[in-house]
Symmetry: C2
Amino acid sequence: MTESPHDPLRIAYLGPAGTFTEQAAVLFAGDNAHPDFVAYSSITASAEAVAQREVDVAIVPFENSLAGAVGETHDLIIHQLNLFIVDELIIPIEHCLIAAPDADTSEIRVIYSHPQALGQCQRYITRRFPDARTEATLSTSQAVARAIEVGDQVAAIAPRRAAVLHSAEILEIGIEDDHRNATRFVVLAHNDHDPTGDDKTTMLFSTANRPGALLRVLKHFADADINLTRIESRPARERLGSYLFLIDCDGHRSDPALANALERLEPELDRLRIIGSYPKAPRP
Amino acid sequence: MTESPHDPLRIAYLGPAGTFTEQAAVLFAGDNAHPDFVAYSSITASAEAVAQREVDVAIVPFENSLAGAVGETHDLIIHQLNLFIVDELIIPIEHCLIAAPDADTSEIRVIYSHPQALGQCQRYITRRFPDARTEATLSTSQAVARAIEVGDQVAAIAPRRAAVLHSAEILEIGIEDDHRNATRFVVLAHNDHDPTGDDKTTMLFSTANRPGALLRVLKHFADADINLTRIESRPARERLGSYLFLIDCDGHRSDPALANALERLEPELDRLRIIGSYPKAPRP
């Protein structure tokens, strides 16, 4: 990134406010004096806003520790937009039980939330509120708004930030069934990041119809003593059974060891695209 | 499979009738004299019916040539149920424009379909019916039922089979934007398939915290001259950044070359589970 922390920074995210993506956007903005958060209605729309230069960066969910790769984000990085990853952020997915302030919550009859959040808290709901009915909303933020509207005997499941933004009351924190649930967000921009000394690089390559290509790629990295942290296969969209590979490795693309490995690798591949080098996120 | 084509065969699938999954189920039943098709409301429910022995097999979507791995199916195979893959089927995803018989279709004002099908035909809709409104339904089958109910000036987008089942009229065939769209279904059962001479094997292995493990696995297969047709990484659900790998290779697990490779491989891995050997589907 070339922006200094004192430039105004326009940050696109999947809205509405109060989602985990907004939480990642706030974390990314950090000590920037003038962050300008712009909510979009989809992951793709937020990334396209970067391509159209309506905003500087977009924060998009990339992978989740339970559900795996976020397909929409991978498809737009691979097939649609020529953007770089400039940073990554890891956000623990922590859900709260939320109600209207001063509501009567002695008996909860209805629990509102996005279907994904209801699914992530299913065992909690069955154990604590066996007689409650769940009702799906379009976002966790809408669930909180609905709980405030109805008031008594209802609750919403949403991130803590949604309760703060709606001035609602948090009844319980960390009600998700699986506490190992975390999402890795990436920040898309027109350029990637300068070296920091503790970086990561994401690259895309195509093996087309050469079956041993993945093995040769892995061997190149192993010989150069470069640690691979993720290998993800995605459809090449040519036919069923043809794949592209997205690889994350330790190091910046300008580090001599990685730069040399990439140079030796390139002639062996049909296609090699560096999606970006960026600082490693601290593990939560 | 131990069933002969003359045994009654109970086949679970994601309903309602008229979906691509039902089409795969019909293809799988083949010349079985007494197939008994049972519709379930989710992929997981249909697979659990096999585990509970309510049915003999379940037909589930496994991967799509455009969208990639079907997360729900992968999660239940890997993390929830101890079932085998006994067969695979490849179904081209072909959509039709469908209307009520004798309806006035000189002007189409509303097009009903499942959001996924609407997305797969978006360019077609914009080009052919720029003024039509799209309306989401819970399934493509429901879209056809709705089009028949309303009658004039509306249409549905659904597979050809949905039109046949509802005795509706097909106005146009093959309206999907991308004709390379195909879905690979797998058949889940309590046992896998006997060797046929042209088979495939799916296996799951865990590399836990040993970064070079995938390279060693690939090298074992390359040394044994065994062709890998798919490598898919999935979250190990331990922490962000830990993965399991699902590999498809040519051959039956009882073929000497593959059996030897697996025997040499096993001691090097934390975990190796054969998900099944089964006949290769013909490419469409």
